[in-house]
């Protein structure tokens, strides 16, 4: 009942194609944005900002990137970690070697470099698809991981291999506290999410989905498969690269190649699968879910009075993740996003039974 669409007629194609065609959705989205920008900075404590909200945003950004590639264009990638590393190390080197460079420029350039690397490793998609392509992305993952840990130039010849990230400066303002960093991340992620949404509801999104659904047939309407796939790799890596740069600069405070290993790639892939393949909203939901799950898992047994050590905790995580992946693939391949949609449809009638 609350969610009735009755009376909401679209009088123009523009209204029909809006991001939030239903009024209640639009109100909800604006409310969430308002809370995120105006309320959270004052209400949330440092722990929440530092370890939950900011990483959530960064993960969401990486998930959007991977979702564009895997969910919309159908190209499975296990190289997310590697591309995040590219973004992180590019940003680091730019900031160190060109001091005073505007942080937005740094991030943009990091994204662009990651996009170029993405195109390079996307070239095999001309000849191969499915899990064959996934193996090629594994090559990217392992090679990039090795590159950043073995070539000293990237780490500015530091002896320990781990370097701390430089300060974030924009127009003379230092982003040093958790609140300012949170707001910076929020702005970047919000803008990029909006751009991604625009891409997927237009021609580029349709071309990607055509490639995903039947790339042979896509050719007959004039889509050039290689170009479309490489564009997907480029845009996806751009997003993932910026996520990596944010990860190093804003979250970790250090640029560490082991933060971008194969596990990270799997983590983001899980977010995309559980959140919903082919859904921008799903990227956010999946990121939240995977981020909060370990916290839940470590606290839940305590609630039942059962103590489990850290090793057992990790094992439990593995088991639960594995089960959830299989569960979602069987029950709802479109993930939480679809469950959300179904929930909204039920809201049309609730609280009435029919």
């Amino acid at each position: 009942m609350l969610y009735r669409e009755a009376g909401q007629f679209k009088a123009s194609y523009a209204a029909d194609q809006a991001i939030f065609p239903i009024l209640q959705d639009r109100i909800g989205a604006i409310a969430i944005l308002a809370v995120a920008f105006l309320v959270v900075p004052f209400a949330a404590n440092e722990y929440w900002l530092r370890t939950i909200l900011t990483p959530f945003l960064i993960y969401a950004l990486a998930s959007i990137g991977l979702n564009l590639l895997t969910g919309y264009a159908g190209l499975v990638s296990l190289g997310t970690g590697g591309f995040m590393a590219v973004g992180a190390f590019t940003a680091y080197n730019l900031a160190i070697r060109i001091p005073g460079l505007n942080v937005v420029v740094v991030f943009l350039l990091a994204g662009l470099v990651a996009a170029c690397v993405g195109i390079l490793f996307g070239l095999p998609s001309l000849r191969i698809k499915g899990f064959y392509l996934a193996v090629a992305t594994l090559a990217a993952q392992f090679f990039l991981e090795w590159l950043f840990s073995h070539v000293p130039w990237f780490t500015n010849d530091s002896s320990s291999g781990v370097i701390s990230s430089p300060e974030i400066v924009m127009f003379g303002f230092r982003f040093s506290g958790p609140v300012s960093r949170y707001l910076l991340t929020l702005t970047i992620v919000a803008v990029l999410a909006l751009l991604a949404k625009n891409l997927v509801r237009g021609n580029i999104g349709r071309s990607w989905m055509a490639i995903r659904d039947m790339d042979i047939a896509a050719e007959i309407i004039g889509i050039r498969p290689l170009r479309t796939k490489l564009l997907a790799f480029a845009v996806s890596s751009f997003y993932i690269g910026i996520a990596g740069a944010l990860w190093a600069f804003v979250y970790l405070g250090s640029v560490d190649p082991s933060a971008f290993d194969l596990d990270r790639s799997f983590q983001v892939l899980f977010m995309v699968i559980i959140g919903g393949l082919g859904s921008i909203l799903g990227s956010f939901l999946g990121a939240a879910f995977i981020l909060l799950l370990p916290i839940l898992l470590s606290n839940l047994p305590e609630l039942f009075g059962v103590h489990i050590g850290t090793a057992a905790g990790t094992n439990l995580e593995f088991v639960v993740f594995g089960t959830l992946i299989v569960f979602f693939l069987i029950v709802e391949p479109h993930g939480l996003a679809r469950l959300w949609q179904i929930g909204k449809e039920k809201l049309r009638l609730w609280p009435f039974p029919h």
Binding site: P124, A139, H150, V319, V326, L329
Partner: protein
């Protein structure tokens, strides 16, 4: 020159170990078209179970049988809970489901048997032996012999037996196989059991060599380039691919590694595979993938 041969032979023989893991992949792919990302986890799981039982005082033969039974149970569970519900989905979904299985197995295995390194003492002879002036490890020779007999056995099984034919039919076309009365579900259980047994053998060999530990599952990822080189549907291809990967890795690490700070082994195989994918996607022995509209 001798050094080169030693490295080469060492690489070839370590490649045989990769092949053992790759064989399991080929089995499942050949018979169900599913790319089983969890094969490595199965190797680890089998090895952990075996070692765990041994440490609890089981005799070798009892532990072996118990492990095989466990793998059969695993195959049945996987077929029932994962394969059957996903039977009509595309390959990519099945692939991602096997990633889920891999995580699950890793978690369960470690929860049951702990995460420490378990040394596996089976009395397999180790130590070098002199062949034509080159030092070769006895263990590696035995591994090669094991792999060779496994390949021969599997090839015979696929070509000559009734079940083997049924498996090939299922790989070609599920619907058609069902329509001639081949029981799909049983076939899948058989295949996954066979892969489980292959995983067990691989687990024994790897475990004896390295000790049974988590990195075994990661090493199994190396099997992917092996498959790409050899062809996903070819049993002899798994061997050849393994040899190429093993030799290539070792040679590049020893001769090229010093120039770039070492560690080439982590990615050499994948890069090689990627190049292969551009040039010959079906691998050396695989079937060409033809798509019809």
């Amino acid at each position: 020159m001798e050094f080169f041969f030693e490295v080469l032979i060492g690489g070839l023989l370590s490649g045989v170990m990769y092949s053992l893991v790759a064989l399991g992949f080929v089995l499942i792919f050949k018979a169900s078209g599913v790319f089983n990302f969890a094969q490595g986890a199965m190797v680890l799981f089998a090895a952990l179970t075996f070692v765990g039982l041994l440490e609890h005082g089981f005799a070798i033969w009892a532990a072996a049988i118990a492990t095989i039974v466990t793998m059969v149970v695993l195959a049945i569970v996987v077929e029932r809970l994962v394969l059957r519900p996903l039977v009509n989905q595309e390959q990519i979904i099945m692939f991602m489901a096997t990633i889920g299985i891999a995580y699950f197995l890793n978690g369960i295995g470690q929860a049951m048997w702990g995460a420490d390194v378990h040394p596996l003492m089976l009395g397999i002879p180790q130590g070098p032996v002199d062949v034509l002036g080159i030092q070769i490890d006895k263990f590696d020779l035995i591994a090669a012999a094991v792999a060779g007999s496994l390949v021969a056995g599997l090839a015979f099984f696929f070509q000559k037996t009734r079940i083997g034919r049924a498996l090939r039919a299922v790989a070609d076309d599920h619907q058609a196989a069902m329509s001639v009365g081949i029981p799909l579900k049983q076939i899948w259980v058989i295949v996954w059991t066979a892969a489980g047994i292959v995983a067990f053998v691989a687990g024994i060999m790897w475990g004896s060599n390295l000790g049974v530990q988590f990195s075994v599952a990661l090493v199994a990822l190396k099997a992917l380039p092996v498959l790409i080189l050899g062809g996903f549907t070819s049993i002899p291809g798994a061997i050849v691919g393994g040899l190429l990967v093993g030799a290539g890795e070792k040679l590049s690490e020893v001769f090229l590694g010093p120039f770039v700070g070492g560690g080439i082994e982590t990615w050499f195989a994948y890069m090689l595979a990627m190049l292969f994918l551009m040039v010959r996607p079906q691998g050396l022995f695989g079937e060409r993938i033809i798509e019809r509209v």
